[in-house]
């Protein structure tokens, strides 16, 4: 058990963080180079003011017309993203592990709040899954990889909940929990999860074109 635990909580953490940061830098640089080659107009039109204006409207719940048209989806997606980011970064158990390793720490959530937030993430994933299966316009755009990505995102939260509550097999699931977190981290730059790094730029470009060229709102 010690060898497996040390490997997944030591070596593999380093490997996944290097792949995550390196992958993000690589994807970002190669995307910028590709845009320069194929879509140089992006650099001409990009405007900080209109980019920020658009991003601002799209990160506020119900800040866009599209969100007002789909209220349930808007609530679920905002709750999902907030919990998805807050739980791993501010979970007490994670803070302790970082404190033990690097002697640094920051603010943390209480375990009971983190527990509820974890369920929100898992529940949202189920909602997204059902949506993909039942909504024709979403189903049309769905491929196998979308289901896999949903599983990659849900896995760390399901296994984390499982180990925290010490359901049967929690030691084994604990190892899977660490592994699944690492897989998700590595998946961010190389899958559709890369909207984490590209969101500000795709939104920013739309805002720039609509704001500066078409003189229209894009929210």
């Amino acid at each position: 058990m010690h060898d497996i635990y040390n490997f997944v909580s030591g070596t593999l953490v380093w490997v996944s963080f290097i792949l995550f940061t390196g992958g993000c830098v690589y994807r970002f640089v190669s995307m910028a180079a590709l845009a320069k080659k194929k879509d140089p107009v992006i650099y001409e039109y990009m405007s900080l003011r209109y980019a920020l204006r658009s991003i601002f409207h799209w990160i506020i719940p119900f800040g866009s017309e599209n969100m007002k048209m789909h209220p349930v989806f808007t609530i679920v997606t905002f709750a999902f993203h907030i919990c998805l980011i807050f739980v791993p970064l501010f979970l007490f158990a994670h803070i302790i592990l970082i404190k033990e390793s690097w002697n640094i720490s920051w603010w943390f959530l209480s375990d009971s709040i983190a527990d509820v937030m974890t369920l929100i993430v898992v529940g949202s994933c189920i909602y997204f899954l059902v949506r993909r299966i039942t909504q024709p316009e979403v189903k049309f755009l769905t491929s196998i990889s979308d289901y896999l990505i949903l599983a990659v995102v849900a896995a760390p939260f399901i296994t984390g909940f499982w180990t925290y509550h010490q359901f049967p097999g929690h030691k084994f699931v604990g190892i899977i929990h660490i592994l699944s977190g690492e897989i998700m981290l590595v998946a961010i730059p190389f899958t559709r999860l890369s909207h984490m790094i590209f969101f500000a730029f795709t939104r920013g470009y739309m805002g720039s074109e609509f704001g500066a060229i078409r003189h229209a709102k894009d929210w």
Partner: protein, 125 residues
């Protein structure tokens, strides 16, 4: 009258039981405890003091109950009569003290490749 004496008898037995159990648990520690932890996030870490030290072959109390002065460990002195938090002060943030406990227990387990290292192995529900 009969009923009353029966009640008194029950109370007396309960009181004795409570005293005995409390005294016993102070003699033989079962959980890692520190009064500085006001709200507990997890169940206390299971720790059978005597059995652990016999198995781990720890004779020197100062291995855990160490005493430092100006950053230097005092070799002949130990601190069994103190709580860890008397030196490792909490000051409103439990993180540093929790980490100290973890490094003392889990750190040694990792070093010796023996004993529990994962959260749920010690903080048993």
């Amino acid at each position: 009258m009969k009923k009353k004496s029966w009640i008194l008898y029950s109370i007396a037995v309960t009181a004795v039981a409570v005293v005995v159990v409390t005294a016993y648990s102070q003699e033989n520690v079962k959980y890692v405890q520190d009064s500085a932890f006001k709200t507990k996030m997890r169940p206390g870490a299971v720790f059978l003091h005597d059995e652990h030290n016999e198995k781990a072959e720890i004779d020197d109390c100062g291995t855990c109950h160490h005493l430092y002065k100006d950053g230097v460990k005092i070799e002949d002195e130990t601190s069994e009569d103190m709580e860890c938090s008397e030196c490792h002060k909490i000051n409103g943030n439990p993180v540093p003290l929790v980490a100290k406990y973890h490094l003392r227990c889990k750190g040694c387990h990792e070093e010796k490749k023996a004993g529990p290292v994962m959260c749920s192995e010690c903080h048993v529900k």
